[in-house]
C-alpha cells in the first residue's frame, strides 16, 4: 500500500511539473509549435522509398537532402540538424506507416517526401491532421494538389511539392506528339500507379483535344517482364506514337520488346520521367535510340556545382545521382529549412518555438525562389494547391547513340516550352 501511495505521488508530481510544458505559454500558433530546447538538434523528417524495387528514387532524393544539409554545414538556428528517414515504400500503406512515425515524433519540424504519389495519398491525411508540412521532391500526380474530391483530388493543407505537376508533363507530351511528330493516333500504357495512370490520362485527353485519335488505352503490372501480349494488341490498333509513362524496368521491357513486335516498327515510343535515368538507355540497348522522353530539365552553373559536390561527397555511395529528382529534393529541403529559420522564435531560455501554421504560411508564401530547378513559386489554388514548381523545368529529350553506348546523360533536348505554340492557352 505504501508503495502504491508513493507511485501515485510521483505520478502526480510529474503531471504538475509537466503542465507548463503542455501549455506552451510562448506559442501563439493556431496549430501549436515545435519546441526545440537550447541544446537539442533541429529534427527534419524524410519519407522516402528506400527499400524495394523503387529504392533508387528514394536514394536519389535522400542524396539531395543530405547535400542541402551539408550545404549549411549541418547547422540550422545555431543547432545541429538531425535527419530522420522513414521508409515510405512506393505504396499508400507504406506512406501511411511512415507518416504515422513522423507525426508521432513531436520534435520533427517538417518532412520531405514522399517518393511516390501513391505513398503521398497514404501519408497526406496523417501529416495534415498532425498540423505538419510535407514537401515532396518527386510526387507528380495531379490529384495530390487538387482539392475537388469528386474529381479524385486528395489535397490537404500542409502538402507542398517541388516536382512538376503531371498536368504540365502529360500535356507537354501530347503537344510534342502532335506538333513535332505529327502523330494522328496514340496508344497509352500505364502500370496502375496513380502517377503513371494520371499521366497517361492527361496525355490522352490533351492529345484528343488537339484533334488526335486515342486508339488504345491499356495497362501492364509492375513486375511484368513479358510484354508480348500487350504489344501484340497495340500493334493491332496501329498507333503512330506509343506513350508509356511507366517506371523502369517495365519501360525497358516495353521498348526493347516493341522493337521485335511486327507492326510497331514505325511507331515512336515516348516515355516520361519515371524512366528518366542513364541506365534506361543502356539497359534497353539499340531499341532505345529514337525514344522521346519528357523529363526534368535542370541545368545551369548552380546545378553543375551541385553535381560536383555529389561526386565529392558521394551520398549513398554513388558517384552520380541515380535518378532525376535530386535537385528537386535539394530545393525542397532548402525551402523547408529557410521557412523554419524565418518563423522560429527564440524564447529567453534559449528554447526555440516553430509555429506549425506559421511554417505552412511561410512555405506557401515562397515566391520566385531561386532553386536548382529554376524559379519556384508556391501556389495555393486547386488544381495547383501546394505546387511550387511551375512546369518550366521540363523538356522533351530524344535518346541517341551516345546515351546507349557511352552512358552520356542527359540526352539532347529536342523540344521545350519555349518552342510550343499552344502552351499559352494551357
Amino acid at each position: 500500500m505504501k508503495r502504491l501511495c508513493l507511485v501515485f505521488t510521483v505520478l502526480g508530481l510529474l503531471v504538475v511539473f509537466s503542465v507548463p510544458a503542455f501549455a506552451q505559454d510562448g506559442c501563439m500558433d493556431a496549430l501549436g509549435c515545435v519546441e526545440i530546447a537550447s541544446d537539442d538538434p533541429v529534427v527534419i523528417g524524410a519519407m522516402l522509398s528506400v527499400s524495394g524495387a523503387t529504392s533508387f528514387y528514394g536514394e536519389d532524393s535522400l542524396g539531395g537532402i543530405e547535400l542541402a544539409i551539408s550545404g549549411r554545414d549541418g547547422m540550422l538556428l545555431g543547432r545541429e540538424i538531425t535527419l530522420v528517414v522513414e521508409d515510405s515504400l512506393c505504396s499508400a500503406e507504406g506512406g501511411q506507416a511512415a507518416a504515422q512515425r513522423i507525426a508521432a515524433d513531436e520534435t520533427i519540424v517538417g518532412a520531405i517526401g514522399t517518393t511516390c504519389s501513391g505513398a503521398a495519398q497514404g501519408a497526406m491525411p496523417i501529416i495534415s491532421e498532425a498540423g505538419m508540412v510535407m514537401i515532396s521532391s518527386s510526387n507528380t500526380s495531379p490529384s495530390l494538389t487538387n482539392d475537388d474530391t469528386e474529381a479524385g483530388g486528395t489535397y490537404m493543407p500542409g502538402y507542398f511539392r517541388t516536382a512538376h505537376n503531371d498536368l504540365f508533363q502529360g500535356a507537354m507530351g501530347a503537344q510534342f506528339a502532335v506538333e513535332v511528330l505529327k502523330a494522328g493516333a496514340v496508344a497509352t500504357i500505364h502500370d496502375g500507379d496513380p502517377y503513371t495512370e494520371g499521366l497517361a490520362v492527361v496525355m490522352a485527353n490533351t492529345f484528343a483535344g488537339l484533334g488526335g485519335d486515342v486508339v488504345f488505352q491499356g495497362a501492364v503490372s509492375k513486375g511484368d517482364t513479358d510484354m508480348s501480349a500487350i504489344l501484340t494488341e497495340i500493334a493491332a490498333s496501329a498507333p503512330d506514337v506509343v506513350y508509356l509513362p511507366v517506371f523502369v524496368p517495365e519501360s525497358e521491357f516495353l521498348v526493347s520488346q516493341a522493337a521485335n513486335t511486327p507492326g510497331l516498327e514505325d511507331a515512336v515510343m515516348m516515355t516520361a520521367d519515371g524512366s528518366f535515368s542513364a541506365t534506361f538507355a543502356q539497359n534497353t540497348g539499340a531499341a532505345a535510340v529514337g525514344v522521346a522522353m519528357t523529363g526534368p530539365h535542370v541545368s545551369g552553373d548552380a546545378y553543375s556545382a551541385f553535381l560536383d559536390l555529389w561526386a565529392e561527397e558521394q551520398p549513398g555511395g554513388t558517384d552520380a545521382p541515380p535518378s532525376g529528382f535530386h535537385a528537386h529534393a535539394y530545393d525542397a529541403a532548402n525551402i523547408l529549412m529557410d521557412a523554419v529559420e524565418a518563423v522560429a522564435e527564440e524564447a529567453d531560455d534559449g528554447t526555440v518555438l516553430v509555429g506549425r501554421q506559421a511554417l505552412r504560411d511561410a512555405i506557401a508564401a515562397v515566391e520566385n525562389y531561386d532553386g536548382l530547378t529554376g524559379s519556384l513559386t508556391c501556389q495555393d489554388e486547386s488544381p495547383y494547391a501546394g505546387d511550387c514548381a511551375t512546369g518550366t523545368a521540363l523538356a522533351v529529350f530524344e535518346i541517341t547513340e551516345p546515351q546507349v553506348n557511352d552512358g552520356e546523360w542527359p540526352p539532347p533536348i529536342v523540344w521545350d516550352l519555349s518552342m510550343s505554340m499552344a502552351m499559352s492557352e494551357g
Partner: protein
C-alpha cells in the same frame, strides 16, 4: 462429377460444380468472342504461344528447385527466388565484361556456357549456405518454423545483394548470334526464344537423368521416400540434402542467365521475387514434389499467361486485360488447389509421406 444429383447432397460440392460451369462458360465465351473478332492473326497467336513457352521454361527451371527441396524435406524454400536472383545479378557483371572484350560475340556458345557455369556456381553456393546456416539447425522443428525462416532468409539475401551491387537496374548485353528470327511457313519465331526453350529442356533432361539413372539420384529418391530407412541403408542424409539444394540452386542460377538472354532488362536485387512466386505456382500446378510435374507446370503457366489475357479476358470485354496477367496465373493456382490439390501430375504426398 455432379455429386449433388445423388442423394447425399452437399452445398460444398454444389458450389464447386457451379464454379466449374461458370469458369468453363467464361473461358469458352471469351475465347469465342476474341477468335470471332479476328483482332489478332494466327501468326500473332503463334508468336504469343512461343514467347509463353520460353517464359514457361524459365519458370520450370526455377520450379524444379522448389519441387526437389519439397520432395526431400516437405518444406517450401521461399528464398529460392533469391537464389535465382543471386546467380542472375552476379553474372550480369561477367556478361558485361565478356561483351566489352568482344568474347561474347566472337564465341557466343562458349561465352553463354561460361556464364551459365558461373551463375550456377554462385546460386549453388548461396543455396548450400542457406541450407547449412538457415535450415539445417531447424530440421525436425515444426513445419512452420523453416517456412518463416525462409521468408527471413529471402529478405536477408535481397538486401545483402543490394548492399553488394547497389539498387539500380542492370541489363544483360545482347548476343548478336541470337538476334533475328526463324521463318517457318510465314510465321517468324525469334531465335532467342528457340534457344531459351532448347537450353531449358536440355537442363531438365540432365536433371531427369541425374535423378533417375545415377547413384546419387537413387540416394535422393531414397531420402525422399523415407529418411530413417535411407539412413539405415548407409546413406549420408545431410550430404544428400545439401546436394539437392545445390542442384536446385544450379538450375536456378542457369535459369537466371537464360532469363537474361530472353528478357535482358530488369536485373536488380528484387528481380527474384515475382519469378519465385510464379515458379512456386508452377510447382504446385504440376504437383509439388514431382519433377516432370514442375516442368509441365512451368510451361503450362507460361503459355496461359501469354495467351490468357488476350484470348479470354479481352474477349469478355474486361478493360486493361493485360494488367490482369498475374490474376490469371494466381487464379490458376486457386483453381488447382480447389479442384485438384495434388496438382496435374502430383501424387497425394500428404498421405504417402506425412
Amino acid at each position: 462429377m455432379f455429386k449433388w444429383r445423388t442423394d447425399d447432397f452437399s452445398w460444398v460440392d454444389f458450389t464447386i460444380d457451379v464454379l466449374r460451369v461458370i469458369i468453363v462458360l467464361g473461358v469458352v465465351i471469351g475465347a469465342w468472342n476474341t477468335l470471332s473478332s479476328g483482332r489478332i492473326s494466327l501468326a500473332q497467336w503463334v508468336n504469343l504461344f512461343a514467347a509463353g513457352l520460353s517464359q514457361g521454361s524459365i519458370y520450370a527451371l526455377i520450379a524444379l528447385g522448389y519441387t526437389l527441396v519439397y520432395g526431400i524435406l516437405l518444406m517450401i524454400n521461399f528464398a529460392h527466388g533469391e537464389v535465382f536472383m543471386a546467380g542472375a545479378f552476379s553474372t550480369v557483371f561477367l556478361a558485361e565484361a565478356l561483351n566489352r572484350t568482344g568474347f561474347l560475340n566472337a564465341q557466343p556458345l562458349l561465352a553463354i556456357l561460361l556464364m551459365i557455369a558461373f551463375a550456377g556456381l554462385v546460386s549453388m553456393s548461396v543455396a548450400i549456405l542457406l541450407e547449412r546456416i538457415a535450415y539445417r539447425p531447424l530440421r525436425g522443428s515444426p513445419r512452420l518454423v523453416p517456412l518463416i525462416t525462409a521468408i527471413g532468409a529471402s529478405f536477408f539475401l535481397q538486401y545483402t545483394f543490394r548492399g553488394l551491387y547497389g539498387s539500380g537496374f542492370k541489363a544483360y548485353p545482347g548476343v548478336n548470334a541470337l538476334q533475328g528470327a526463324i521463318e517457318i511457313g510465314g510465321i517468324s519465331i525469334p531465335v532467342v526464344q528457340v534457344f531459351v526453350f532448347c537450353a531449358a529442356i536440355f537442363l531438365m533432361l540432365c536433371l531427369y537423368w541425374l535423378v533417375e539413372r545415377t547413384r546419387v539420384g537413387k540416394a535422393m529418391r531414397a531420402v525422399s521416400e523415407n529418411k530413417e530407412v535411407a539412413r539405415l541403408m548407409g546413406i549420408d542424409i545431410d550430404w544428400v540434402i545439401m546436394f539437392t539444394f545445390g542442384v536446385g540452386g544450379f538450375l536456378a542460377g542457369s535459369a537466371g542467365v537464360i532469363n537474361g538472354l530472353f528478357r535482358p532488362q530488369g536485373v536488380n536485387f528484387y528481380m527474384g521475387f515475382i519469378p519465385g512466386i510464379k515458379a512456386f505456382t508452377a510447382a504446385v500446378l504440376g504437383g509439388i514434389g514431382n519433377i516432370p510435374g514442375a516442368m509441365l507446370g512451368g510451361l503450362f503457366l507460361g503459355v496461359i499467361e501469354a495467351i490468357g489475357p488476350n484470348l479470354v479476358l479481352a474477349g469478355l470485354g474486361i478493360p486493361g486485360a493485360n494488367q490482369l496477367k498475374d490474376v490469371i496465373a494466381f487464379t490458376m493456382l486457386v483453381l488447382v488447389l480447389i479442384f485438384r490439390p495434388q496438382g496435374i501430375l502430383g501424387e497425394r504426398l500428404s498421405e504417402t509421406k506425412a
